[in-house]
């Protein structure tokens, strides 16, 4: 299922091996993601899909192989700088403490994002788009449902305007309507490079390419 290729690679992974608790979670895995490309990575549970995203964020160090982001090899010396190009939306995100508004605004208080504060003006538009009420902003995040947390995390990620979005099971807690809203947005998002990992085959319809991890067969 390869609709579009020939993108200039924004992510390039080669020969990756990751060991976790003495067990090889990812073995000799290679992947590339073109600029503006949308890729779905599937694979059975425990195949290392989420671990791969954590490696791309620099949260887990592979024992072998290399990760290139925008042409630069990911390492201790440039991880903080390269992270500014990526945003990661965790499966079942933990938004921290405070009201929904606090949680969405918090990243814009970080030094790296201060020049993005104006993006908050688009918040209302995204709330509508992802079927969330504006009243939600004053609620404490602890009372949100899993689906609401997931959409709030996605909205925050979008507002940060990073060129690469990593999505970990982005629809695991969403109902069909919300899932469709998220998929529609991602289809329309031009220029964004998206790597989504999911069991949900519905995502295959809104990406350029599907890859598999944890077995030899590629589609």
């Amino acid at each position: 299922m390869e609709n579009k290729v020939n993108h200039e690679d924004i992510i390039n992974i080669s020969g990756l091996e990751v060991v976790f608790d003495g067990r090889i979670v990812i073995r000799d895995f290679s992947l590339h993601l073109g600029q503006g490309e949308k890729l779905l990575l599937t694979g059975p549970s425990g195949s290392g899909k989420s671990t791969l995203l954590l490696c791309l964020m620099g949260f887990i160090r592979p024992v072998k192989g290399a990760i290139y982001i925008d042409g630069q090899r990911l390492g201790d010396d440039n991880i903080w700088q390269l992270r500014q190009n990526i945003v990661w939306v965790a499966q079942e995100p933990d938004p921290g403490k405070g009201s929904v508004r606090d949680v969405i605004q918090r990243p814009f208080s970080y030094r790296a994002n201060r020049d993005l504060k104006d993006n908050m003006t688009k918040l209302g538009e995204y709330l509508r788009r992802f079927r969330l009420n504006k009243e939600l902003l004053d609620k404490d995040v602890s009372v949100l449902s899993g689906g609401e947390k997931q959409r709030i995390a996605l909205i925050t990620a979008i507002l940060l305007q990073r060129p690469i979005i990593l999505l970990d099971e982005p629809s695991s807690a969403l109902d069909q309507t919300s899932k469709q809203a998220v998929m529609d947005f991602l289809v329309e998002a031009k220029g964004l490079s998206i790597l989504a990992v999911s069991h949900d085959r519905d995502w295959a319809g809104c990406v350029d390419r599907v890859e598999r991890i944890g077995s030899e067969d590629r589609q």
Binding site: M57, R61, R83, I86, W88, P95, P107, Y110, A112, T156
Partner: protein
């Protein structure tokens, strides 16, 4: 006010008679702490006898360098206790925590003996050792609460912590909420005791000053000054302990280094 009465070894032996009552309860109700209690009583006796004899010498000599050495040894013991209590690796944390404890003890102690008591010798054994001990004991407790709260909450809320890094936070920004909660948790006991002090029980220092033959008003002045000194010391030590330990406990990517803990 009368002078303090010397208990003497005979009187002290009488104090041990009181132990018959808790021991009888423990044995009668078969509470499985008899062995531990015996060990605790023996340890308390031996440790305090040793410290008592040693302090007699230290007080008699009243040499500022010896007094300083005593403080440094106490800080070292507190340092080791915190590292063990927080299950940290000695090599990474011994110096950061030592410096935090030393600063948290030295600043309020020297201020207490200098501007508050106006003693000509800042390292006077009669004041530096008991006041230093009280402040250090509180710093130790506050450090354990603060460090455990800080690192445990980052571990427990790992996803939220990593999410903040993914949102562009630098290390200092990412740890900010955990740092704030840890300081709150570690200062809360001192704030609570300041709030209720004198209402529930007479605090230790005030009791000591009254037993020593001073007027209650003098005892109150000492107690207020020591509470403020303890609060200042715990705030300094917890703040510095967390701040100085950051470098040893996170890897180059800002992830909590599990190898830094036992």
């Amino acid at each position: 006010m009368s002078e303090i009465i010397n208990i003497g070894y005979g009187g002290l032996a009488a104090a041990y008679i009181l132990l018959i009552i808790p021991f009888a309860i423990i044995l009668y109700r078969k509470v499985p702490i008899f062995g531990r209690t015996m060990i605790a009583v023996v340890r308390m006796t031996v440790q305090l006898l040793f410290v008592g004899f040693y302090l007699q010498v230290v007080f008699h000599l009243n040499n500022p360098w010896l007094n300083l050495a005593w403080l440094v040894v106490m800080v070292g013991v507190a340092d080791a206790t915190i590292i063990r209590g927080c299950r940290m690796r000695v090599r990474q944390f011994i110096w950061p925590l030592f410096l935090a404890l030393l600063a948290g003890t030295a600043v309020p102690v020297l201020f207490f003996v200098g501007p508050i008591l106006r003693r000509p010798m800042l390292l006077d054994a009669q004041y530096v050792i008991p006041i230093g001990g009280m402040i250090l004991g509180n710093c130790l407790r506050a450090d354990i609460i603060g460090l455990k709260s800080f690192y445990d909450s980052i571990r427990d809320r790992k996803k939220a912590y990593l999410q903040s890094l993914a949102h562009g936070a630098n290390l200092s920004e990412a740890v900010r909420p955990y740092f704030r909660d840890a300081i709150e948790a570690s200062l809360a006991p001192t704030i609570a005791s300041m709030t209720t002090i004198g209402l529930v029980a007479l605090p230790g220092m005030m009791t000591g000053v009254i037993l020593g033959g001073s007027e209650p008003v003098t005892a109150i002045q000492y107690q207020i000054a020591i509470m403020i000194a303890i609060f200042c010391g715990t705030a300094i030590t917890v703040y510095l302990a967390i701040l100085l330990s950051l470098k040893s406990s996170f890897d180059a990517a800002g992830v909590l280094d599990s190898d830094a803990f036992v």
